[in-house]
């Protein structure tokens, strides 16, 4: 297949099939419904499993079961649906069962609205469920990147035995764009999962068990420390980001997903007018790409976080950069998608103030 025109949700669903997804369990919610709709037709054609569960809670527990049996499993939902799944996600992480979760974010809190939002940042990066755990989380900016990351995410989930979350907002789910499904290779040959409860105890000579319950606090602490060692490896190896025009920048935008798309357009316009503006675009939300902030040029005086949530990612920008730069935030939320002009105006105001100082 060469380039085709696809809707975000369809492209992500197809990418999951190409990433080797064996089974999907989900429950409908706007604005991600085209994912289960697409998979309901195409998983059957590929002789794979598709189940529309009776609820989000049921779906994530089916993911837990099928993932535990060694299958490559996908679920998808949108913000309040992801909130419902958090208990199961915590169990998956605690039991080290891999899976991929696509979250097509909409406004909140509560039922919120159906328009695009990034207000799940805390829910994604701070662990929406209980316990010391993290999700490897990717936030693509366009459909090609979403396809490439999703194809790869099943390998990552298996490699770390950890849930991976793909975080996009409703706009990326609903928009159309040309994509090439073959730009990156399909998922590599899979290794047998020797830890899985796949009914093959006879061959192994022992029965595998999958639990998140460890009643001895010392054992549980030991388990948590082993998980932490894994998360430390992710921090070390999995940070992904893009730096755009930062070489001589005075002001650097920090933005991801659709907001980065809008910010990219603002950077272009500002550069045309001679303003020295650049952008750091986190591609992983967790681990937060701290490395992107290392070795920024001395010309940088201000970091401006742009997000469709009220400063959730800005907290991470502060943790990494406290005391080093002026830190500012421009945020829209509730489903309001900012226009490039809003970023341009904010950037000019900051640069003008800095010039005067």
């Amino acid at each position: 297949m060469s380039r085709v025109l696809m809707k975000g949700n369809e492209a992500m669903a197809l990418a999951a099939i190409k990433g080797g997804c064996d089974a999907f369990f989900g429950y409908p919610i706007t604005p991600q419904n085209e994912i289960p709709e697409y998979l309901s037709e195409h998983m059957a054609k590929e002789d794979r499993v598709f189940v529309q569960a009776e609820s989000e809670v049921a779906a994530i527990n089916m993911v837990y079961g099928a993932g535990g049996a060694g299958a490559r499993v996908l679920t998808s939902s949108s913000s309040p649906g992801i909130a419902l799944k958090q208990e199961g996600i915590s169990y998956l992480a605690g039991s080290e069962v891999p899976c991929v979760i696509i979250n097509v974010m909409r406004g909140g809190p509560g039922l919120g609205g159906i328009q695009p939002s990034q207000a799940d940042y805390n829910q994604i990066t701070r662990g929406g469920g209980n316990g010391d755990y993290h999700l490897l989380s990717y936030a693509p900016e366009n459909l090609q990147e979403a396809v490439d990351l999703i194809k790869q995410s099943f390998d990552k989930a298996d490699a770390y035995r950890n849930p991976v979350m793909i975080a996009v907002d409703g706009l990326l789910g609903q928009m159309m764009e040309p994509v090439d499904l073959e730009r990156t290779p399909d998922s590599k040959q899979r290794e047998r999962k020797e830890w899985a409860t796949d009914g093959d105890a006879g061959r192994r000579g022992k029965a595998n068990t999958i639990v998140s319950l460890h009643l001895d606090p010392n054992k549980l602490e030991e388990h948590n420390l082993a998980l932490k060692e894994k998360y430390d490896r992710m921090v070390e190896n999995e940070q992904r980001y893009e730096r755009l025009e930062t070489e001589d920048a005075e002001l650097v935008f920090i933005a991801y997903g659709s907001t980065a798309r809008i910010a990219r357009s603002a950077v272009e316009s500002l550069r045309e007018e001679g303003y020295k503006v650049g952008m750091i675009r986190p591609i992983t939300l967790w681990p937060f790409p701290e490395n992107a902030f290392k070795k920024l040029p001395d010309t940088v005086h201000t970091l401006l976080t742009l997000e469709m949530s009220l400063g959730q990612m800005h907290q991470d920008v502060k943790i990494v950069n406290q005391g080093r730069y002026h830190l500012d935030l421009y945020a829209r939320t509730g489903g309001v998608v900012p226009e490039p002009e809003e970023f341009i105006e904010k950037a000019k105001a900051i640069l003008k103030k800095e010039d005067a100082a």
């Binding site: 297949m1 025109l5 696809m6 706007t30 159906i114 609903q174 928009m175 489903g335 490039p340």
Partner: protein, 215 residues
């Protein structure tokens, strides 16, 4: 263009953008948005622009709830079919589920005044062969109780479209056209893609109204 044009097709074929373009170009009285499938990028989201153009929008969103995704349609959607001088463009939702809504109007659709056009973009996956399009037509007609009267070539890869893209779409559509004896009524191209050769039907430059420029 007949008094009433209904646009049907696969999801993401460009029905809404073409509906807005046709409605504005022809200066019709009503644009009827029957899309209960998509939550975003629906023709109802440009209601202010349509109002400026003097085109009344008929859609089913409850008052003050533009962003609800309730599958409701307005009773007024029937009006153009039974109003002899009213000109309208109908924008259906994608696929057979979108076409199914037309079942309720089959008793008032008078083919002398109503034409149903299929919008096709052969760059959508699974729609790149005449066989796939013929099958789509059969499914839409079956679901909606309507008959497709003509084709619209809207083959594109958005900004990456070239004349060659359109020509490839036309090649596929010609087979469909010959098989079912359906005319290609329009060829749409993005206004940014210049056209230097002849294409089937009326060739129209498409203005994009639904997506922001940065997208």
């Amino acid at each position: 263009m007949k008094r009433i044009v209904m646009l049907c097709g696969h999801s993401g074929s460009g029905k809404s953008e073409i509906a807005i373009n046709l409605a504005i170009d022809a200066g019709v009285d009503k644009l009827v948005d029957l899309d209960i499938v998509n939550p975003y990028f629906r023709s109802r989201s440009v209601h202010a622009l349509l109002e400026e153009e003097g085109i009344a929008l008929i859609e089913g969103t409850p008052e003050q709830s533009l962003n609800s995704d309730l599958p409701t349609i307005s009773a007024a959607a029937r009006t153009p079919f039974v109003s002899p001088s009213m000109r309208a463009v109908y924008d259906l939702g994608g696929g057979p589920s979108g076409a199914r809504l037309m079942r309720q109007y089959t008793d008032v659709i008078d083919k002398h005044h109503v034409e149903c056009l299929l919008v096709v973009n052969t760059m959508r996956p699974g729609l790149d062969t005449p066989e796939a399009i013929l099958q789509l037509i059969s499914r839409l007609e079956g679901a909606g109780g309507i008959k497709v009267d003509g084709l619209i070539n809207n083959t594109n890869l958005m900004e990456e479209t070239t004349e060659e893209t359109l020509a490839e779409g036309e090649r596929i559509l010609r087979t469909v056209s010959d098989t079912l004896d359906l005319p290609i009524r329009y060829t749409f191209h993005l206004s940014k893609v210049p056209i230097t050769r002849a294409f089937a039907g009326e060739v129209r430059a498409l203005e994009r109204y639904l997506a922001p420029e940065w997208l």
